[in-house]
Symmetry: C2
Subunit: 322 residues, 2 copies
């Protein structure tokens, strides 16, 4: 059931033991929302904890400062920035939460309403779930102190590529200004999110750039990241995220694809597009989802060549439809 | 003489034939200011033109749309984002303007007051000259339409790395929000400024990454860009700018140096620092200047090895002083 801000605030106010769920492969928005909400609830004297079926990258450690670790049976379960039930984690993990998520605060048009109550800002789509969550916190009357503000800022900045992408609105920028006014170390946040290169990342980027292929008359650029590249560079999957932005950046490219091989030999594609190509449509053809300009999907194929063909076929279908 | 906003506005209102000067190696701030001011003045029925002793990169073409080319003898000469007289251009070019610059609108603490009147926002330092110029335009009562707003946004975004860097303030973000509210294509601007990679740029980046050297216990990263690399990649100097950000991004680096060889075999360094290292001090030792976190200088040396030694000596002096 779709609800409004007042209803979401009422739910949070009426409960006192709240568990917060993030999506797997956590990014700055799902984590920023979770930490912001957890901090705000603990400040109000409620019990709050964050659950996630994944490793939280060290780059996000700063948001965890001074959060109290609390064990309890929840009376309310809230998912933040989680578009579908499957995104919660592995099959085993998510069974614990089947039909048990009370509230989902999200901004994805593809949200499947898996929670009992869903607060979704899609018209226009909020740039980040953190935008929607900030309005919920204001409605609740929570204290948005600098600790909370740093987490909200992280969500806003991460999901907009630091206010670069077309999903940014003047509201996003004004919310960011309000968070900056709380004296948050936003330059540290941005440095961690966008500007820190390890030597191993540098090595991985060099390999990934060398793997670049152009297809369909230069309208598609594809880079490949294999397990072998991780071994050669001393890097790992956690360092591959910012590479995804590169293929779309090549002049003339409508669909930028990053095809990654996971440790089990399965393939996953991350697709970024320039208008009018639609990343969500490209990924939806293979059972994935996301936004118009950025989406992802598992890709069938036993070999890299098969996987490449599968995602390129879907790109071709999209380009032909334009 | 230092002046206030009211005085700067009065100067612009009292004159009707205004020439606007940019600094050489023009960036989005000096050009954004020049185009914004030129548009606003022409809208007010004044004559206005932009002079620059350099090629304007094509990526900035969008700001030039619908600006009328006007020839006239100026009754007011205004420099925007120009910290020192030398930055206007070659010796021959700048002789035309010696003791003739009436007004300078700037944000560099290193401004040498070469103009008759200088409007400078340094406490705190405006993130971009475009911030200061926008306030001047408001004071003048100019119409900040979407054409002007696009140019102001370009200045704000360029000089803050799209609101990432520590010079960004909540005022910068609110001004950007106000510009976004004028329905400007800000994502196109950011794509052009930050996200467009030509194939030749890709090739140049791969060579530059391979040239990276670490010095002083990992506190300094240095990349070199030579004329030979331009030949090999098919690229040129205009594509080297965004490489400058890379050395500082390596974990643990305090001083990131990009050493470039120009067509005449002379060397120039661009220095970016992380706190507490001071880029301006590093470059000032070699006669250059700039800001705490980003500065530049010519580097003495007949060979690459000599130039490298000269800039590394200055980095060493800075690191020892910390």
């Amino acid at each position: 059931m779709r609800i409004d801000f007042a209803f979401a605030a009422k739910l949070l106010k009426e409960h006192s033991q709240i568990e917060i769920l993030c999506h797997k492969s956590p990014d700055g928005d799902t984590l920023g929302c979770a930490y912001a909400l957890c901090r705000a609830l603990q400040s109000m004297g409620k019990k709050a904890k964050i659950s996630i079926d994944d490793v939280i990258p060290h780059s996000f450690d700063y948001m965890n400062d001074n959060i109290e670790v609390q064990q309890f049976e929840p009376d309310l379960i809230v998912a933040v920035d989680v578009a579908t039930f499957d995104l919660l984690g592995s099959k085993e993990y998510r069974e614990k939460y089947r039909d048990r998520v009370d509230l989902c605060i999200d901004h994805h048009t593809t949200n499947t309403d898996f929670a009992k109550y869903t607060l979704l800002e899609t018209e226009p789509e909020a740039a980040a779930a953190a935008e929607t969550l900030l309005l919920v916190l204001y409605e609740v009357g929570a204290d948005v102190d600098s600790g909370v503000a740093e987490c909200i800022y992280t969500g806003l900045s991460t999901d907009t590529g630091c206010f670069r992408y077309s999903n940014t609105t003047s509201r996003t920028l004004r919310m960011a200004a309000d968070m900056v006014d709380k004296d948050i170390p936003f330059e540290m946040v941005n440095k961690r999110m966008f500007e820190t290169r390890t030597k191993t990342y540098n090595a991985l980027e060099t390999l990934a750039l060398a793997s670049m292929e152009m297809h369909f008359d230069g309208k598609c650029a594809l880079i490949t990241i294999t397990q072998d590249m991780y071994h050669k560079s001393g890097s790992d999957e956690s360092e591959s995220h910012s590479l995804k932005a590169i293929p779309r950046q090549i002049e003339g490219v409508l669909a930028g694809v990053t095809l990654k091989e996971d440790a089990d030999g399965l393939f996953r594609a991350s697709v970024r597009t320039n208008a009018p190509a639609d990343a969500c449509r490209i990924c939806a053809r293979l059972g994935g989802g996301g936004h118009k300009r950025a989406a992802g999907c598992d890709v069938p194929g036993k070999t890299l060549a098969e996987a490449k063909q599968a995602i390129l076929d879907s790109v071709a279908a999209e380009l032909e439809s334009l």
